[in-house]
Symmetry: none
Subunit: 129 residues, 2 copies
DNA sequence: AATGATAATGATAATCATTTTCATTTGTGC
DNA sequence: GCACAAATGAAAATGATTATCATTATCATT
């Protein structure tokens, strides 16, 4: 354990962060909230939002957007990866993205962009469909 | 003029599209709607949403997200391409994606996926921000 | 321990983009 | 004109996020 963010911040942030970690990958504020509810932790939705905001500001957590615009969060430094998703059955394969990482990094540098992230997904019909 | 989308679709789609064009760059559904209002065009918000959705489905228009999650749209050149978007000011650079095309194609093949597409975006802070 | 300043919490209400519903209008072929 | 399907848009519903604000926890000082 011994996270560098243990100094942080309100007494809720750590609980929210631990929950996000337990969720694995991405989770929305609502999902984190419901997870904590189901686990019997007492916390308010507002506090979850505030904790996530402060964690984003501290760059401990990444924010991204789902297709429908909902904000989703994940621990920074989670192993970063990409997906192939089946358009029909939704089946997902995690894939390696080294090529994309380099592509993103070099193009960002070329255009003078800092503080760079990227998203990349492949979608199609899986063998079964 | 002479757009390839002239065949499309409802009688609203062209008006929405023309407005989006006139707006230059990105505009949200709400913004397109208000623009049309101010110009004295009579149209309902619902129809603007529907028109934009169908234009996105037809790949005539690109959809993206503002920092706050609001959907923004813009005319899309017919050549397939990718973007670097500034997280702060929304400035956009069109970039070459040959590497990504190959990456997507080979990985899809490797996992037996057919009828494959992909998305890839880079985001960060532009030189000005 | 009691006090009080300050920050954190969370229930509730407000906001606001987007989607649904559904009644009305419009287009199209007969 | 008449039927029938598609398109429209006003109004209500939805759902995520944010703002309010009264209550509660923290902590240093008395
Ligand atoms: Zn499938
Ligand atoms: Zn990557
Ligand atoms: Zn910028
Ligand atoms: Zn591509």
């Amino acid at each position: 354990m011994a996270y560098c963010w243990e100094r942080w911040l309100s007494r809720s942030n750590p609980r929210v962060l631990l929950t996000l970690e337990r969720a694995g990958g991405f989770a929305s504020a609502q999902e984190v909230y419901h997870l904590m509810q189901r686990e019997g932790q007492s916390i308010g939705l507002t506090t979850v939002y505030r904790a996530l905001q402060s964690l984003v500001k501290e760059k401990i957590v990444d924010i991204m957007r789902r297709e429908d615009g909902e904000a989703i969060y994940r621990l920074c430094g989670d192993t970063h990866h990409h997906h192939i998703v089946c358009k029909s059955c939704g089946d997902t394969v995690e894939i390696e993205g080294g090529v994309v990482e380099k592509w993103a990094k070099s193009l960002a540098a070329e255009h003078g962009y800092r503080d760079v992230g990227h998203s990349a997904e492949i979608f199609g019909l899986c063998p079964k469909c």
